[in-house]
């Protein structure tokens, strides 16, 4: 059924899958379609886990896809004059290809637990640096006032313009006013949904100064695409100076910071 030529053509098409697949991943970093720059302490661990899984799955991908190609090439009915092998399976093989992936997957599962715990479970013991309240379609920020405590009358209110000090633990208290949002800092390898009715802690330590994107990553309505903020990572001195400027500005514009944002308090 069919000529040898068609067998060659179709097996090569299946060979193109691993070839072009690997090529895509090889070219991607070169054309800058790759992990964005990481400026966080824990990001290192996430990225290396990504590379580790990429290598692991890459090997399996190449091995299985090339095997598929090779079998198609070799056992094409137009080429292979021997009868098909009459075999119903192999107990040994089944055991091997159950145990080996099981062990690998289990190892992977255990191996990554610590990183997860660092990013999501071992919260630094400190007062929140800032409260982020998501709402359609902006990030409302609330810094402690000069008294250093959040939730008092002199709190500082800002929108979309997050500043944090570099090389220090930062603890964000994340809330939502209306619908789900997700606080996504690509360069800090942070993502956390903001859920109405919940107060969720998010922490990180930035390792470099600079300005980066804050993206909303959970569908929150028609304006979801434009729910954009910026995070400025700066030295402690710059940060303090910035805070000072902001306090002064707020006091100048609204002598009594009686919040229209009363909701942010509960």
């Amino acid at each position: 059924m069919g000529s040898r030529l068609s067998g060659i053509f179709w097996s090569l098409l299946f060979l193109a899958v691993p070839v072009l697949g690997v090529a895509t991943f090889a070219i991607a970093p070169a054309i800058d379609v790759w992990l964005p720059k990481d400026v966080s302490e824990h990001g290192q661990a996430i990225d290396s886990l990504f590379y580790f899984i990429l290598a692991l799955t890459g090997v399996v991908f190449i091995a299985t896809e090339v095997a598929l190609f090779w079998f198609l090439w070799k056992y094409d009915a137009a080429k292979n004059s021997r009868p098909a092998t009459y075999i119903h399976g192999s107990h040994t093989l089944e055991v091997v290809w159950t145990i080996v992936p099981a062990a690998t997957l289990l190892f992977l599962a255990i191996y990554q637990m610590n990183t997860w715990a660092d990013v999501k479970m071992r919260r630094p013991v400190m007062a929140p640096t800032v409260e982020v309240v998501a709402r359609q379609f902006e990030w409302r920020l609330r810094y402690p006032g000069r008294d250093g405590t959040l939730g008092t009358g002199d709190d500082l209110f800002l929108v979309n313009d997050l500043h944090v000090p570099v090389d220090e633990d930062v603890l964000v208290q994340l809330k939502s006013m209306d619908v789900l949002h997700s606080f996504f800092l690509p360069n800090l390898r942070i993502k956390q949904d903001a859920v109405p009715g919940m107060k969720i802690p998010v922490w990180f330590k930035a390792t470099e100064t600079g300005q980066f994107d804050i993206v909303c990553a959970e569908l929150c309505g028609w304006g979801h695409y434009k729910m954009k903020g910026r995070i400025t990572i700066e030295s402690r001195e710059d940060f303090d100076r910035w805070l000072e400027t902001m306090y002064a500005r707020q006091e100048a514009t609204q002598p009594e910071p009686e919040p229209a944002e009363a909701v942010a308090q509960n």
């Binding site: 069919g2 098409l13 899958v17 895509t24 379609v33 790759w34 964005p36 661990a45 996430i46 886990l49 990504f50 899984i53 991908f61 299985t64 598929l68 079998f71 198609l72 056992y75 009868p83 098909a84 092998t85 009459y86 075999i87 119903h88 399976g89 192999s90 093989l93 089944e94 290809w97 159950t98 997957l105 289990l106 599962a109 990554q112 637990m113 997860w116 715990a117 990013v119 999501k120 479970m121 359609q136 209306d178 619908v179 789900l180 690509p186 390898r189 949904d193 109405p196 009715g197 919940m198 980066f212 994107d213 993206v215 990553a217 309505g221 028609w222 979801h224 695409y225 434009k226 509960n266």
Partner: protein, 607 residues
């Protein structure tokens, strides 16, 4: 291509149900009872097939509109733009939100689930187990007719005020429960919930029927471990449906109550939407996510297991080899189904759910990759040492395996919780589920259509155009979806109408334009399929009973089978995969071939 060589030697034809008592011809009533309100599983199967293919087209066009906006945001949309006349032909962001919501909804609930269980399940189950029909033909008819309220609900929702639902196919509250939160959260969302419930009723009626039929109506000699993989997969899928669906239905009613009766299952106290305080509260948005994924994770397997079964059968036929590891294949399907109930939390790693719980879901998710791996190795074992015939059906089946490898492996990235922090809700996820659902299941569906077409319509599809269809679909599909992995590596978020104003993503437009061109090519290639399908239905070469020289029971029935299916009582003597038995003249031994003949042939060769 061989002739219809099957000889129903054992018993004489009984012509079950072929003749009807003579009565006056009433053409309209006749037509209605044969083609519309039919209780024949084959007609119902084809009704499902045609309806879902129409929705497949609609879903595909919705996808193109979505891709248009991603590639060229805010530029005039061809055709559709004029149709909806929005802002001089360009798309409004709420319209975009509605488009991807309805694209996914249509594809999942009106295409993939009903085409697998409804079309193939209905058509194949009685034929492959040697029954004359389903256990409950009326229930079966109803399962199709319950799809129509769903078609109407989803279809009509495009035309109500505010447009169709626009809170994603996952319909997360409080975006979906609060009417003020988005335009589509009005009537559109209510109709969405009604439609979903109807699809659920339809699936439930189907699954009860499939389970009963497979348990009770197998032909003599058809033990459970002689069932073809397609039937095993349908059986386990039906069980999954039956256990998971009630949860979704209940959750759907709760959401409906939140929206219409003022309950607050999913809304917390003190919520303020659009500057208006919500009246009710005390609920939990995460509750919906738990309930939804408790159904929808098993549902992703409902959306692939039948395809896995069909592909296994097709691959053995065209490799002319027994299935490698039949029992492991069955056990791994069962394993997937069992584990499928305890992994739903992997959709919620960063949802705000307790991170400690995330660890347990991570471990179970890692483990569910195992049966998938076992299946893949056994498929490779099946082609190894075979005599492979590159038919269109075989090419689609092989591509299922090749593509499922990609989708399964990308699952491991997302199962790794720390990595998922970064890639959750990015195009990496979109790549993953299109590899399993489109590159996997849809390719499996095409394999099934090319393979069983002769049984459905008595004619074969054109192989040349079938292969052209395969080649173009395969190439364009990978062009569209493979690139999504690297987009996801940048963190490119899904569901954004325009992401290029972000510094991180501003350089990704050319790549997205490339993907959109590929998507257009992919949809355009389906014209070849549509023409081939309808042309072959009427003018294709007439097929005998068993055009592929396959072993399973459906190939002993006439093509197409009449009412009652078999013109003799099939008796089963062996498993479905006895290909290339040594010492036999034929390279296939059908399940119904009497053993004495087989033994004689084998003995003859041995001497």
């Amino acid at each position: 291509m061989s002739l219809a060589t099957t000889s129903p030697t054992l018993t004489q034809p009984t012509a079950t149900g072929l003749g009807r008592p003579a009565r006056k011809p009433r053409p309209i009533a006749e037509f209605l009872s044969t083609y519309v309100f039919s209780k024949d599983h084959k007609v119902i199967g084809l009704q499902f097939l045609f309806s879902t293919l129409v929705w497949f087209l609609i879903g595909g066009l919705l996808a193109l509109a979505v891709r248009w906006q991603i590639a060229w945001p805010w530029s005039d949309v061809p055709v559709l733009g004029k149709l909806f006349a929005q802002q001089g032909g360009q798309m409004a962001p709420e319209f975009y939100t509605m488009l991807f919501t309805m694209h996914a909804t249509v594809m999942i609930f009106l295409v993939i689930i009903p085409i697998l269980a409804g079309a193939f399940g209905n058509f194949l189950i009685p034929l492959m187990i040697g029954a004359d029909d389903m256990a409950f033909p009326t229930l079966n008819m109803l399962s199709y007719w319950f799809m129509w309220p769903a078609f109407f609900a989803f279809g009509a929702s495009f035309f109500v005020e505010g447009g169709a639902a626009s809170s994603g196919w996952t319909s997360y509250p409080t975006l979906s429960t609060n009417v003020a939160s988005s335009p589509g959260a009005g009537w559109g969302q209510t109709l969405w919930l009604i439609g979903l419930t109807m699809v659920g009723v339809s699936s439930m009626l189907g699954s009860v029927n499939y389970m009963t039929t497979i348990i009770l109506m197998r032909a003599p000699g058809m033990t459970m471990f002689r069932l073809p993989m397609t039937i095993w997969a349908m059986f386990i899928t039906a069980i999954l449906q039956a256990f998971a669906l009630p949860v979704l239905t209940a959750a759907g009613f709760m959401q409906l109550a939140d929206r219409t009766l003022g309950t607050g299952f999913f809304s917390p106290e003190g919520n303020i939407v659009n500057n208006a305080m919500q009246a009710t509260g005390g609920g939990q948005p995460l509750l919906w996510q738990h309930l939804f994924w408790f159904y929808s994770h098993p549902a992703v397997y409902i959306m692939i297991l039948p395809a896995m079964g069909m592909v296994s059968d097709i691959m053995t036929t065209f490799a002319r080899k027994p299935l490698f590891g039949y029992r492991p294949m069955v056990y791994s399907i069962a394993g997937i189904a069992g584990l499928g109930f305890i992994v739903w939390g992997h959709h919620m790693f960063i949802s705000g759910m307790n991170p400690a719980l995330g660890i347990t879901f991570m471990v179970s998710t890692m483990m569910i990759a195992l049966p998938s791996a076992v299946k893949t190795f056994n498929w490779l074992g099946t082609v190894w040492g075979g005599k492979i015939q590159f038919t269109t059906a075989m090419l689609f089946a092989l591509s299922f395996v090749s593509m499922f490898i990609i989708g399964g492996l990308s699952g491991i990235f997302m199962a790794a919780t720390p990595v998922d922090i970064f890639i959750h809700d990015t195009y990496f996820i979109v790549a993953h589920f299109h590899y399993v659902l489109f590159a996997g299941t849809a390719m499996g569906v095409w394999a099934g259509i090319y393979y069983w077409f002769p049984k459905m319509f008595g004619r074969t599809m054109n192989e040349f155009w079938g292969k052209a269809h395969f080649f173009l679909t395969f190439v364009f599909m990978n062009g569209t979806f493979f690139t999504m992995h690297i987009l996801g590596a940048v963190g490119f978020p899904r569901r954004l109408a325009d992401a290029y104003h972000y510094e991180t993503f501003h350089h990704l437009q050319p790549l997205n334009a490339f993907m959109t061109w590929c998507a257009i090519g992919m949809v355009a290639s389906q014209i070849i399929f549509a023409v081939n399908f309808f042309w072959s239905m009427f003018f294709g070469p007439v097929a005998g009973r068993n055009p592929w020289n396959a072993n399973t029971l459906e190939w002993t029935a006439p093509s197409p089978p009449g009412h009652g299916n078999f013109d003799f009582q099939p008796v089963v003597y062996r498993g479905p995969y006895e290909y290339s038995v040594p010492g036999m003249e034929k390279d296939h031994l059908m399940q119904t071939d009497p053993p004495n003949a087989a033994a004689l042939a084998a003995a003859g060769a041995a001497h």
